[in-house]
């Protein structure tokens, strides 16, 4: 894989890193942010007898994680194809 490949390896890897970085910001925001550190700020938003932060801690972050992984898989497959590094 060192020499002679036809695709722009560096740009591909950068695109991947950008996508990972964006995903991990959301990942941290919903769990460490909304569910823990920022919970007092969300205390005013009621949901079923408690507040939005509690919902993120018990369910919301999990749902977001699922969306993040599927989004990443779908985007990466596109990026693989764009750079021609997808599997046959």
């Amino acid at each position: 894989m060192s020499a002679g490949h036809s695709y722009d390896a560096e740009a591909y890897w950068k695109a991947n890193l950008r996508l990972i970085f964006g995903s991990l910001i959301v990942w941290a925001l919903v769990s460490y942010g909304f569910a823990i550190l920022l919970r007092p700020m969300l205390a005013g938003i009621p949901i079923g007898g408690t507040d939005l932060g509690f919902w993120f801690a018990q369910q919301g972050s999990i749902l977001t994680f699922i969306a993040l992984i599927f989004h990443y898989a779908w985007r990466m497959n596109k990026i693989d194809e764009k750079f021609g590094v997808h599997e046959e």
Binding site: M1, G48, F65, I69, M76
Partner: protein, 588 residues
């Protein structure tokens, strides 16, 4: 039909199913044995990962932990799912592209060092063995309660079943039994939860019921629960907590630990393509979430049900008479997991929080201390009985709990045996071994691992609960950073990786041992394990995340002070980053 007969039918039926699958999916090659031939569909693999991952801890203990801790224990929900985001983006696709059989093999090749591979093998074995003890012990509890056999006999039965399908089928047999076990455990977990949610809120989906209205009181169910337990001196269920640093680090340790556990990582080696590794991480989390979105509902509803069982006429009225206690309390008393002592000798069961703040109220009501101690591990298992559900639901729970324990045990045993046969025997001791010889060695190491795990399960060390934290700490502080740096940095070399793993590990172990005792020997701890003594309020259970940071830092500093990795290693890093040319997982 008696409850015992129903339980036998459910558990026996599920065991027969697992054995039938094992006979159908016999392993013929080392590739079958280690990576199920590399041809598993991503959705199938997702379900297998679900069962592999969801252990006795998820199935039996987690809802009990949340019920006891409320909001503060949401850490388990986020920590044990958030790791899949890390796996999907930072490890699984690249390790799949690397295309070998084991986790230490990647570390050994990438850091061009047999010592690095050996350190990884040791971390893997310690993390996996500690984890497997909990599974076998969990299976023992389920057996002794539902099948009325001695827990040692129960363990033997479980060991024989795992032996049959794991030794014969290897990863291939384990994959398909795990899919079956996933189905059994998710049905077993969901059905009682649906009934209970319907009873309490009228909503058939427990995850939505959690935020719905309590039918009897007309209040949101979480408000009702808060009211009932604060009346009895407990903290509010949804209350925020003060020590946020510890909560963040504990969640992070669980996430990084999850991503670094080898028995989960090797499941990603079984899919045909790199893209499939990404998809199967997503499917795995979907299957896991079906249980994890239900668990917090089970937790709060079961806690409310327990309270209303003891105080049927409300918290301001007298609790029930001991003589009139429901049948399920009697049955769990036999196992010692529920204990009653009539401290004020009034023949009633007083269940409340014995805190200083509540003492005046308790005294005014003539209460002389909390009288009922309920082991939180029984919450899920007793759930159908607490809610008066029919006998077949109880049989289902028994089969589900065993499925959760056995599927995880099998995955762990495979990780251990492949590290022994592939990394130690073929990698170091006898590289010239034939494929047939290696397959035999893999089967023998699997058999030995099962015997050791069964023995440890029957004679669990007194620190069984603490060692699970150890498993996550080790995976977080040693394996995860080494794997991630191996992929994302071309600059980290053999010296850096080994120094990083060893210091991360030593730091984490030392911090745990200072509070929990050296090698967990009681009395050898230097400081009492209480929040006042923790550095910056960081609990020993949360230290894995800090250990991981230490590992990263040391590895970078040492690598930058020493020579660059050889060109062929930098090319190896290049090649794992690009999906093209993945092919099947191979030996060479």
């Amino acid at each position: 039909m008696s409850q015992f007969a129903i339980n036998i039918i459910f558990v026996g039926g599920s065991f027969l199913l697992y054995i039938a699958i094992a006979i159908w999916a016999k392993a013929g090659s080392t590739s079958d044995f280690y990576v199920a031939g590399g041809g598993v569909h991503p959705i199938t693999n997702g379900a297998a990962i679900g069962a592999d991952w969801m252990s006795a801890a998820s199935f039996i203990s987690m809802a009990g932990l949340i019920a006891a801790g409320g909001y503060a224990n949401s850490t388990f929900l986020m920590g044990w799912t958030g790791g899949y985001v890390l796996l999907a983006m930072l490890l699984a696709p690249y390790l799949r592209k690397f295309g070998k059989f084991t986790v230490p093999e990647f570390i050994g090749d990438r850091f061009y060092s047999k010592n690095a591979r050996l350190v990884a093998v040791i971390c893997l074995i310690v993390a996996s063995v500690t984890y497997v003890i909990g599974q076998m012990a969990g299976a023992g509890v389920a057996f002794s309660r539902f099948l009325e056999v001695d827990s040692t006999v129960g363990l033997m039965i479980a060991a024989v079943v795992v032996f049959i399908y794991a030794v014969m089928g290897g990863m291939k047999g384990i994959t398909y039994t795990q899919v079956a076990q996933y189905c059994v455990l998710i049905i077993a977990y969901t059905i009682p939860a649906v009934f209970i949610s319907l009873q309490l809120t009228g909503n058939p989906i427990p995850g939505l019921g959690l935020f719905s209205t309590h039918v009897d009181s007309g209040m949101p169910i979480l408000s009702k629960l808060n009211q009932v337990i604060t009346d009895l001196g407990f903290n509010e269920y949804t209350a925020d907590i003060d020590n946020k640093l510890n909560m963040v680090l504990f969640t992070l340790s669980l996430m990084i630990g999850t991503a670094g556990l080898p028995h989960v990582i090797i499941r990603f080696f079984t899919v045909p393509k790199v893209a499939d590794a990404r998809w199967s991480a997503g499917w795995a989390l979907v299957f896991i979430a079906l249980l994890y979105l239900t668990a917090p509902a089970v937790a709060s509803m079961a806690r409310l049900n327990l309270m209303t069982t003891i105080y049927p006429d409300g918290t301001s009225a007298e609790p029930i008479q001991y003589d009139e206690r429901p049948n399920w309390i009697k049955e769990w008393e036999v196992t010692g997991l529920i204990q009653f002592t009539d401290k004020n000798e009034d023949g009633r069961i007083q269940l409340y929080n014995d805190s200083e703040a509540f003492a005046p109220t308790a005294e005014a009501r003539g209460w002389n201390g909390n009288e009922l101690v309920v082991n939180r591990d029984i919450l899920v298992l007793a759930n159908p009985e607490i809610a008066n559900l029919p006998g077949w639901v109880i049989g289902l729970i028994a089969a589900g709990g065993l499925a959760a324990a056995l599927s995880t045990a099998a995955g762990l045993l495979l990780a251990i045996s492949s590290a022994v046969s592939h990394d130690l025997i073929k990698g170091s001791i006898n590289p010239a071994i034939s494929e047939k010889g290696e397959l035999l060695a893999a089967r023998i190491s699997m058999a030995v691992a099962i015997v050791v795990a069964t023995w440890l399960g029957a004679n669990p060390p007194g620190f069984a609960a603490q060692v699970v934290a150890l498993a996550f700490g080790i995976a977080a502080a040693s394996l995860f950073p080494a794997l991630m740096m191996g992929i994302f940095s071309k600059r980290v070399n053999n010296k850096g990786a080994i120094a990083g793993m060893l210091t991360g590990l030593a730091f984490t172990l030392a911090y745990i041992f200072v509070y929990k005792g050296w090698l967990f020997i009681p009395g050898t701890n230097n400081l009492a394990d209480t929040p006042e003594n923790w550095v910056l309020g960081i609990s020993p259970l949360s230290i894995g995340a800090v250990g991981a940071i230490v590992n990263f830092a040391v590895a970078f500093i040492v690598s930058n002070a020493t020579e660059e990795p050889p060109v062929e290693i930098q090319e190896l890093v290049e090649s794992v980053r690009y999906p093209r040319g993945a092919g099947q997982a191979t030996d060479h």
